[in-house]
Symmetry: D2
Subunit: 134 residues, 4 copies
């Protein structure tokens, strides 16, 4: 398993008139978690795109327990539970400063050739970087 | 069962650098579907808020089949498969103009008292308006 | 002068915890106005992009008079006051259902070659379509 | 004059199909700059809201020089050039890691009583905290 933690501060633009972070904005936060996980491997998603690999999302699932609010400093825990092959599944947990779990979710992406727009395999550099953790 | 259809046109702001609608934006589209369903019952979500009822999201799940693109005219089909009690579960399907299913999902919301922020029951006016369809 | 009107319904996702539409979201609305103006000329911004022309924004200015709220049905009035050459300047006014002016602004975009990313001229098909109105 | 610097990393969700950060998203970034400036005074915008003061935006103006891209680490420089009375005017400059100015703008907000929704004066605690810098 490989896990990364990132901090994010809730922006005013992300709240809605209930006074909470809008439920759809967590998709953006989860993506920040994925980006930072890949950076922690000394790689970048940008690099994958430059290699001609895109990663559209196949499935997303979020369970909400508690609301996030403006200016909250959130912790995004992002984990990979197994090595990716054609797909990669990120497990995300968001906590507030009190350590309470606000929501958790999974996002599955599929490695795609940006020219043919067809599925492909996880790039070797990603597999190599992840192997020590599995 | 009660079903509503709404049309939505993809905005430039909703695309990302893959050239697709960003995966998280469909949460916003699904909400448009819910709003229009409630309007079709001659009710409004605003009205619920004025009655002191909020509806935070408990769970969201989306499966993505095909991308949506800038300026696509999408159809959002929103269905209720059973009468709500304390929770309400909307089933959403998004199609493009060719009738292809782009994604489908479920969003479960919980009726909440906006003062106590505790769960409550679906408002009577909603139940009454839905009953003929079940 | 050439003017177009479009209707837009405020989404929950676009509100913030003040209970108003977030001030930055009007940039998105103004873009909807521009898109619909081009469609009214039987052209599309997509078409320009396919021709290798991008239109990044050079300047935006908005003056806010009154707030927009969830579920408001807004009218976006978009005008061109002169024929574009290298730049195009859209003037936007947003009104609510009572006809009150909520905000007004200008957005100036520059025609850009998407390969060289250098400034270019407005496409001929756009000039031709606009000429009868000036 | 009082100036604050904050860093922000561009998220995938903020890009559009031009491959740039969508022009409207800088309104969100500028707000992050304002929030961090107030935090640097050991105050918070949340605190103002709790005191019954809201700060809707009166005017926004942005001039764009160069695009921001996914994963860029941006610097937001936020300045107050004079002490606020009934309004507060933030001047913002966004730079990339190479120190290039990407865009600059001004945002003017008006102190508003959240009950009466009428203009009011800048809270004393804000004036006191700013006075040493002017």
């Amino acid at each position: 398993m490989f896990t990364t933690e990132t901090k994010i501060r809730v922006r005013y633009a992300e709240t809605d008139q209930m006074g909470y972070v809008y439920y759809g904005r967590f998709a953006d936060y989860y993506e920040v978690g994925r980006t930072e996980m890949i950076r922690n491997l000394s790689l970048s998603y940008k690099q994958f795109e430059d290699m001609g690999i895109m990663m559209p999302v196949l499935e997303m699932k979020i369970r909400y327990f508690k609301a996030a609010r403006y200016d909250d400093l959130l912790t995004i825990k992002t984990s990979l539970e197994k090595l990716p092959i054609a797909r990669i599944r990120f497990v995300c947990v968001i906590q507030n400063e009190a350590g309470e779990k606000l929501n958790e979710g999974e996002v599955t992406l599929v490695f795609t050739d940006s020219n043919t727009r067809k599925p492909t395999r996880a790039p070797d550099i990603l597999i190599k970087a992840l192997q020590p953790f599995f």
